[in-house]
Symmetry: C2
Subunit: 342 residues, 2 copies
DNA sequence: AAGCTAGTTGACACCGGTGTCAACTAGCTT
DNA sequence: AAGCTAGTTGACACCGGTGTCAACTAGCTT
């Protein structure tokens, strides 16, 4: 049994297919009784609009894509969930595309993706959102995008969190617990967020009139393994830190592992904390103290914003000016991996 | 700059658009020099076929959907990754759909999904794959699907792992480590996989000439929290088990948490193991011993199989008969959460 | 050279919708 | 009643491809 088309409905209702189209799209200027007649026919035939036909006619695919290259699966999972939720609500499809930030062929790769799938817009997760060549290509092709947590705010709209404040707040919390020898594991050197969190960490020390022990600041790369490595470095120092603050949870989980391997009791022997609040932080023992970055909500908002922008595609003028970013504050979530230093 | 269409290419090459179409689709019976001329024009104009036009003409969307309702994010993530990989390779799109197995409106919900997105086929993850009403609806609409790890093998093709054997092997491994008081946390009572793993557990005891202590078999639901609850029950017994075997890793992680809350040293005081080999098993301390179920590979194979079947859609006769399942064996991965019982 | 056949090509309709524009209608004003 | 205007409707072309079928062509056989 073939599905009913717009022509079937038109015949059934005794009107033209254009009129049916008007009713479907809820356009004004359709006489009330005509509208009701058509609606009755739609119900009678169980008509559903074919999205492919519409997409072709409207020259829009009703799909958006999420471009990511994030080392923390938990981070991505939450983001994706939020985006998916918004997409489902608004009857848009979501295309996932996992790319490599460092790949030389990234721009042509995405160009291909855009051409082959005809996505209407893109959501760029960090660090992809900071690939300037990519943004230039998208601008040139006039493809709308929303950046999540970008480095600069020069291009397009974006949504992100106040990474510096998160880091500042967490450091303050540790200082308040009387920790002074705090190990800090930085984020990936390529990413601006890494710089922001380090800044927040240093600012908190400064504001407290304290000095950062540079030997306790260790390079990380946002990955689990880099957390392990950094923790190993820190824990083998003659002067071991009493707390380790990792710039994201993925690394904090690595720190926890390494600390337990060193037979340390958490939080008695060592406090550990991270940033993001990914799900694994409440699955490990002990649960990890973190700054909650509401990734699900951010994904949801980013997708909603993008879909909104796609609706009024006639307006080439951006809805708001550049430098146009929504910044969301993190929230301190105290769990069992941190305690007062005696 | 508008993208080149098939008509542009036709004009450029001085042929009809049908001939261009033939070249694109690599059809036989095109004269060699014509083909080359067209290919030159395609290259010159940087032509890319519009997938929407093709989809509409062919009455196929070139999308498949993954239907899931799985409580373990790690399980799903791996499956999804494998499926996505195959889809990307074969130029198919993937639609994710997270539904609720127990929802009353599931069947109409999926019916809507299928109509609104026109997916060509479906991959059904457990436990969705066992929803008979859903399968009947899909059969009636003649929509192809592949089931992953289904209960029965009556309908369509499927791919799964030998859950009974995995459980049997793991139990044997524990027995070989001299464990006798083994706590077993079952899977979700609705899912056949739960029955199979319990069967394997019992068979191993039987084959070893031992008896299962029924008080150590506790109901679980495949979720992290159910693992915690079950572990709590087991660890508070007067006769505490020396090992706990959870029917999936998600629960095993919960067991690990609870055991550590009870101040137990793993594996010295308690051995813990699970099934699946999801990524978190190598992030917690200590890493968890498990049976590797190559979910990524299974996802990949399932998608490839489905896409294959969609290619010869003329053949309504199934490529192979019913009862047609690929069964993959798990592999014991020994890590740090299990040790010999003294 | 005529006849045949397999190979090659294009005209046309179609997939299922939407946009444009002209024509028609209803209800008002004069 | 004629004229006007805003509201309503449908014919037609189009989005970018593919399927069907008939016509044409090249190269062979007789």
């Amino acid at each position: 049994m073939r599905a009913a088309t717009i022509i079937d409905v038109a015949k059934h209702a005794g009107v033209s297919k254009k009129t049916v189209s008007r009713v479907i799209n809820n356009e004004a200027n359709v006489r009330k009784e005509t509208k009701e007649k058509v609606q009755a026919s739609i119900a009678a035939l169980d008509f559903k609009r074919n999205p492919l036909g519409m997409a072709l006619a409207k020259n829009r695919s009703f799909f958006i894509a999420l471009l990511s290259d994030n080392p923390s699966p938990g981070y991505l999972m939450n983001l994706q969930k939020g985006i998916l939720q918004s997409c489902t609500e608004q009857h848009m499809g979501l295309f996932l595309y996992d790319c490599s930030y460092r790949s030389k062929g990234l721009v042509p790769e995405i160009e291909d993706l855009v051409e082959n799938t005809l996505v209407d817009g893109l959501i760029l997760a960090p660090p992809i959102c900071d690939k300037i060549e990519l943004l230039e290509m998208l601008d040139a092709r006039n493809i709308k995008y929303i950046r999540i947590g970008p480095k600069d705010l020069e291009r397009g709209e974006s949504i992100g969190f106040n990474g510096m404040k998160s880091s500042y707040d967490m450091t303050n919390y540790l200082l308040k617990l009387n920790h002074r020898d705090i190990g800090f594991i930085t984020g990936h050197p390529d990413q601006e967020s890494a710089r922001r969190s380090e800044k927040g960490f240093r600012q908190a020390f400064k504001d407290a009139g304290l000095e950062v022990d540079e030997s306790l600041v260790v390079q990380g790369y946002y990955t689990y393994q880099s957390g392990i490595n950094a923790a190993n470095t820190l824990l083998n120092k003659e002067k071991r830190p009493t707390a380790i603050f990792a710039a994201n949870d993925e690394m904090a989980v690595g720190v926890l592992y390494e600390a337990q391997s060193h037979n340390l009791r958490i939080p008695n022997d060592l406090s550990i904390c991270g940033i993001d609040d990914i799900s694994i932080t409440t699955k490990v023992w002990p649960n990890i103290t973190t700054m909650r970055h509401p990734l699900l909500s951010i994904g949801y908002q980013a997708a909603s914003l993008l879909i909104d922008r796609l609706k009024d595609k006639k307006s080439t003028i951006p809805a708001k000016g550049p430098n146009d970013a929504t910044i969301i504050d993190g929230e301190l979530v105290i769990r069992d991996s941190t305690s007062k230093h005696k």
